[in-house]
Structure formats: C-alpha cells, structure tokens
C-alpha cells in the first residue's frame, strides 16, 4: 500500500492521509468490538448500525476489500447464515492489522517530526 499515492488521489499530503488512516484504525477497533458484542447478543439493529458505519469510513478511504467483506456479511445476515459472520469480522480485523503494520513506521516518523493538531 503506497500511502503517498493514496494521499495524492485524495488531494491530501501524505502526513494528513496518515493521520486520517490512523483515526480510521482507532475508530474501526471500536466498531469491531461493538460488532462482536452485538453478534453474541443477536442485536440485529446494532449489527446493521456498526457495519454501516464501518463501510462508510472504508468507502471514504477507498478500502474496497473491507467494503466487499461487509457486503458479504450483509448477504449472510439476509440468508440467516450467522456462523460465517465471526469469521468475516476476523478477516476485517486482519486487513486492518495489516494497514496498521504498514502505517506504524510512518507514524513513528511523523511523531519524531511532530504532528499538526486537528481542526475543531
């Protein structure tokens, strides 16, 4: 994954893009935690809410693979095939871990240079 190319596509510089992806990883961790919990309790509404949120962010950042897995999850839910859902969550987790691994050195690099604060 080439962060510089991705950043250029989005009209951002690399550092900005890295910050956004880092935020994506953090918020996604919460989404996945909520999703696992909703699967245990069978809370359909929560499952839809969390997958929708996850899909929106992945789509914004162009993480198509993750979007495809979420669509597959939707298919499973519609067909009442719940047993595959946990596996899908772990696949998403795997993809995000890989992005995090790639992002790690960039973040360390940025931190050593000092990052710019977010807008509020």
């Amino acid at each position: 994954m080439n962060f510089k190319v991705q950043a250029e596509k989005m009209g951002l510089d690399e550092k900005e893009y890295v910050e956004i992806v880092d935020l994506f990883i953090k918020t996604t961790a919460d989404n996945l935690r909520q999703l696992r919990s909703a699967l245990e309790t069978g809370d359909m509404s929560k499952i839809h809410q969390e997958t929708h949120s996850l899909k929106g962010a992945a789509l914004n950042l162009g993480f198509w693979e993750i979007c495809e897995i979420i669509e597959r999850m939707a298919m499973r839910i519609r067909e009442n095939s719940w047993h595959g859902l946990s596996d899908d969550i772990e696949v998403i987790q795997g993809r995000i871990d890989r992005i995090a691994d790639l992002l790690g050195p960039r973040l360390t690099e940025d931190e050593s240079k000092g990052t710019r604060g977010g807008t509020q």
Binding site: G11, E16, F24, T27, L59
Partner: protein, 649 residues
C-alpha cells in the same frame, strides 16, 4: 473566497477528512459530532455553509436542517446534506429545506463535489438541477445500508403510530427525539421542541420534582409518576422512563401519557360514589323518619278535628303540626338529593315552566338583579316531575342571587342539544343523544376550583351560618341525575358562574304540567280497602282515617298476611293501599299477586322514597297511585278517592 463552514457528522474519520481538506482550501472550519452539538456551535458561530450527515444519533440531518430553516437568524445558511444512504434511500432532500445533497463515496471524487458546493454557496439562486443528488456516479446500493434503512423505517412507523408520547433526552436534559404523539401532547412544533430543555415543559411547581425523579437512577426503567402526576400546560401527565446507552452516552427515553381524561373520569366516579353513599344513608334515615312524621302529623290532624276554635291546646297542636311539616320538608329534600324521591313524571316544556316562574323569580331576585331569559322557540320536550324542575330553576336562581350581593344579571337560556361521544359535556353515566339544554348564569363573584369541586356535596355551603342549608345544589344535582340528565358548572372568581343542565328529550305530547293539584276536602266512600303496612302506628292511623270516611277497611301488617285475608274475604276488594318496603313480600309484588285475584284492583303505594330495585329509577307507572309519606288527612283521603274514581271512569 474564504468561507465559514460547519461540518456535522458522527463519524470521526469523515469529520477529520472534511476538516483537513476544507482547512487546506483556506476556509474556517468547525465540526460537530451530532445535531445537538451543532446547535450549540451555532450559538456563537454563523457559518456560510453547513455539511450535514443525514443519519446521526439524536437529531438527524433532516431535522437539523428544518430547525435551521425555521430559525430567522440561521435560515440563510447554505445547507448541504452529505449522505451515505443516497443510493439506497431515494432522498428528496428539498423536503427538509436543504440546498443540495452529495452522496458519500470515495473521498477523492466526493471532495470535488464538496469544493464545488462551497463555491456554489455564494450563488444560491443559481443552484444547478435542484433535487438531483450529486456524486451518485459509481456508487451502487449496498445491501447493508438498505437493511439499516428498512429497520429505521420500521421503527419510525411504529413510533409514529404509537399513542404514547415518547421523548428521548440526553444527560443534560435536552430533547433529541420526540414522536408525533409527544409533539401533539406537548403542543410545540418539532423544531421548537428538539434541543429544548425537557424540564422546562412542566409547570414551574413541578419542575423541581421532575428533576429529582429524573436524577434518581433507582426510579429509572419504570413508571415513575403513576401516583405523583405532573402538570404540563392544562394536561396531567404520567411519566415513565427507560434508560438507553447510545453513541453519545447514557440517554433517557421518557414515556408520556396524557391521563387528564382518566383523572377527570376518576374524580367523577369518586364524586358519584360519594353522592351515592350519602344518598343511601339519607334515604334510609328518611324512610324511618317519614313513618314517625306520619304518626306525629296525622295524630295532630286528628286531634285538631276534635278541638274547638279557641281551645288552649289547639295552638300547641298547631305548632307541633307546623314543626312536623317543616321536618317533612327537610326529609323530602334529602330524598330528592339521594334520587330516591318518587317522581310523578310528565312531559313538559321548560320554556313554559320558566315563563310561569318569571314573576316569582323577579320577586326572589330583587330589584338589583336583572333577569334575562333567552328561550329557544323550537325547544324539545322533556319528561320530568314539573315540581322538581321548578325547584332546580329556583335553587339555581337563589344561588345566583346570593353570588351577586351588589346586583348583576341572571340569564336563563334554553336550547336543543345533541351530546355525542366526543362532547365535553357528556359525563360518566350519561348516554349520547338529544337533550334539552338550559343554563342559568350569573355575573356574580364566581368560585375557586376548590369550591367548585364541592358545591354538589350535601351540607356544603359558603354562606353564613343560618343562611343556607347546603342542600340547594345537592337537590339540583339529585333531580338532574334522577332524570338521567347531566349538570356541569363553569366558574371563575370575579367572572360569574354558569350551570349547564342537559335533560333527555322526549317525543311525547305535552302532559298536564301547570295543572295544580286541587286541594281536596276530606273525601270519603263506601268501597273496600285493604291497608298493608308493617309500621303499626302508621297502619292504625290510615285505617282510622279511612274508616272515619266510611270506607270498609281491612288491614294486614305484611304481604303474606294480606294474601291470607284475600283468601278468606269473600266480598270484592276495590283498593290496595300498601307500603312499598316491607319484610317478606314487598308492596309491588303483593299488588301483582292480588291483581290475579281481583283483576280490577286499584293500588296506591305509600312510600317515603323509591327503592331502585322496586320502582325502576324511582319512576312510577302513571296508572298507579302514590301517596307520599308523611301523608296528611287530605292527601290520604284525596289520593284514595282520586285513584278509585280514575279507575271507575
């Protein structure tokens, strides 16, 4: 051109991308994670452009947009909906007043549309292709989004059709959701309701109490105010709560029920039960009291027949007789209140009755009070005891007079009325239908709500001691109820009072109202009369009086003994004069059995009150005679002759 922009979205990644990109473009950008936070930002920041997510916790983008459009200070902001459900929801964003809508998608393509929208914001009138969602190319409907929208639309439909008001508040007590029932119950528009403080909806005296209840987490998850209700404007509200954990923290869902009508009916039922209980008590006492009064009264009358004019004792007996008559009058009033007075029903025209009473009313009201009558010429007829309806008018007029010590106006109005299920005047126990309405209103001192609640209770009076018995309005209430009618009162301090009475209309021809009973002399005859009365002294008196008038009289203490006499007595019996309530066989049952033996038998019931189980609703068959206790020599002999003559005709 540098612009001020507010981005509202609950997803941190989207917020970060938007603020980074717009910041780079040189704009001043603030962000908010939900609708309520956005409203807080807008208090100190006036943006040129707002980008709103559509689906957010609490106040969503569409509702927030409506609120902005309704606010004169904010209404000109260029509002762009940025939606992740554009491909699935078939949005009509102009419904909520937004200027444009951009589909959420890959940021590299979406960002171009965002920048274009910011540039567009200065030229609002030339918005291209209104209603078209920008950036849909390359975005396909997603199953997961459709599922989410489907769930949302189901919940929306359920919440929208519920009759219970549902409000969601955040930890600060701000309203972030209200269903249509809650909006209607509270009486504010959704735009004004959202983001407002929930506690401020209650009347001031209830706010503190509501605050304490909501602050106490032990009371959550249940109805917290079934006994201790809250007042919201003119409504009485019961409050239930369900805690809920949302993305923004712990919120509270509140269930609001308008229990005003239920409470009103409960109060009515309580009042009716109270009146019924007092009526039962009064009726029971009056029954025995009437027997005693009959003995005192008739013995006095018999004694007076033997006294010569000028004898010393005559005056004393006349005083006893006078006191007995006053006591009888009081007993009658108690019976009227308790709806146990036997009524002699006639078809009457209230207009005629009011016109007949006008002269007397003017005398009673005095010179300082102007009497105005507004009578409907096409007024329907009612079936009632004319004497009792006169008493209703008179009692209300006296009440009005006393409320106008410095003079004023008394208005009596009549009209036809139809009460249906929705009529505010239709009260507990009153059937829908056609009614004759008459009202008595005054311009007097009026009443407080506390006094208004008690006015029909017997012996309640606001008059000085000795100036009122406290029975006047109780009697009015009793008469109206016994006529299957309804009475309501509206009053405000210093603004007068209006009593409205509704009596069922009838289609029969006019009866003999206005015919005053002829005062009869002591009349006699030769027919055979069977007197049945369990109270020995009363029976003896009746027998003695009738024998004086030359009737042939048989007597029995009970119904069963009377039937034995019938078996043994071979000659005809013309008249049965019987008590109504007796141990064993009661009066009406005895009369029914005796009519088998003597088909032409005439019957007179002697009674102080009507037992509802014996006479239906206290209304007597007009073919049957009734002798009110306590009776006098004239009333007994007169009634006997009247019934015997009527039937022989």
């Amino acid at each position: 051109m540098k612009k001020k922009i507010l981005v509202v979205d609950n997803h941190p990644v989207f917020l970060k991308m938007m603020t980074t990109m717009l910041d780079k473009e040189g704009h001043i950008v603030l962000s908010a994670a939900d609708g309520l936070s956005a409203l807080a930002v807008l208090q100190n920041f006036m943006p040129d452009v707002m980008f709103l997510d559509l689906i957010m916790p609490g106040i969503g983008g569409d509702k927030l947009c409506r609120m902005i459009r309704k606010n004169p200070k904010l209404k000109d902001i260029y509002v762009v909906i940025v939606s992740a459900v554009a491909a699935e929801a078939r949005l009509n964003y102009s419904d909520c007043g937004a200027d444009a809508c951009i589909a959420k998608g890959p940021f590299n393509t979406m960002s171009k549309h965002i920048i274009a929208a910011v540039e567009q914001s200065g030229q609002k009138t030339s918005t291209p292709q209104p209603g078209v969602i920008i950036g849909l190319e390359g975005i396909y409907p997603h199953q997961i989004t459709q599922e989410l929208l489907s769930i949302k639309s189901h919940f929306d439909a359920i919440l929208g059709s519920m009759t219970e008001g549902i409000v969601e508040i955040n930890l600060e007590g701000k309203i972030i959701f209200a269903n249509p029932a809650a909006i209607s119950l509270i009486g504010l528009s959704e735009e004004n309701l959202l983001a407002s403080n929930f506690l401020e909806l209650f009347q001031e005296e209830d706010q503190k109490r509501a605050e304490e209840l909501l602050a106490n987490q032990d009371t959550w998850s249940r109805v917290i105010s079934e006994e201790s209700l809250f007042k919201m404007k003119a409504k009485v509200i019961s409050l239930g709560s369900i805690p809920i954990v949302s993305q923004g923290g712990q919120n509270l869902i509140l269930l609001l029920n308008d229990v005003s009508e239920r409470k009103r009916l409960e109060a009515q039922l309580l009042q009716a039960q109270k009146m019924e209980a007092i009526g039962t008590l009064a009726g029971g006492i009056a029954h025995d009291f009437n027997n005693l009064l009959t003995i005192i009264h008739t013995h006095c009358q018999l004694a007076l027949l033997d006294f010569k004019e000028g004898e010393v004792l005559r005056g004393k007996f006349e005083a006893i007789l006078n006191a007995a008559e006053r006591a009888a009058s009081l007993t009658r009033q108690l019976l009227v209140f308790s709806s146990r007075q036997v009524m002699e029903m006639k078809v009457i025209d209230i207009n005629h009755l009011v016109q007949d009473l006008e002269k007397m009313l003017r005398r009673v009201l005095g010179e300082d009070i102007e009497l105005i009558t507004v009578l409907d010429k096409n007024l329907g007829k009612i079936k009632a005891d004319p004497g009792q309806i006169e008493q209703v008018v008179l009692n209300l007029a006296i009440n009005a007079r006393d409320a106008m010590p410095k003079g004023g106006k008394l208005i009596i109005e009549t009209a036809n009325a139809v009460l249906d299920e929705n009529s505010p005047h239709l009260q507990l126990g009153v059937a829908p239908g056609r009614y004759v309405f008459f009202s008595v209103s005054d311009t007097g001192v009026g009443m407080t709500p506390e006094i208004r609640e008690k006015i029909f209770a017997p012996f309640f009076t606001t008059k000085e001691k000795g100036k009122g018995t406290g029975l006047g309005l109780s009697i009015v209430y009793g008469i109206v109820k016994q006529c299957a009618g309804n009475i309501t009162v509206y009053s405000e301090p210093s603004h007068g009072t209006i009593f409205r009475i509704f009596l069922p209309q009838v289609d029969f021809a006019l009866g003999e109202e206005g015919q005053k009973a002829q005062k009869r002399k002591l009349l006699g005859g030769s027919e055979t009369i069977l007197v049945v009365e369990d109270e020995g002294e009363v029976r003896k008196l009746a027998v003695e009086i009738l024998r004086r008038q030359k009737y042939k009289v048989l007597e029995a203490a009970q119904g069963e003994a009377a039937l034995l006499i019938c078996e043994e007595y071979k000659a005809p019996i013309h008249l049965l004069l019987t008590d109504v309530v007796m141990p064993g066989l009661n009066g009406p049952d005895l009369a029914r059995r005796m009519k088998y033996l003597y088909p032409g038998l005439k019957v007179i019931f002697m009674s102080g009150y009507s037992d509802k189980g014996i006479f239906q609703r206290g209304i007597l068959d007009p073919e049957t005679g009734l002798l009110q206790k306590p009776f006098s020599l004239e009333s007994l002999t007169g009634k006997v002759r009247e019934v015997l003559d009527h039937q022989s005709n």
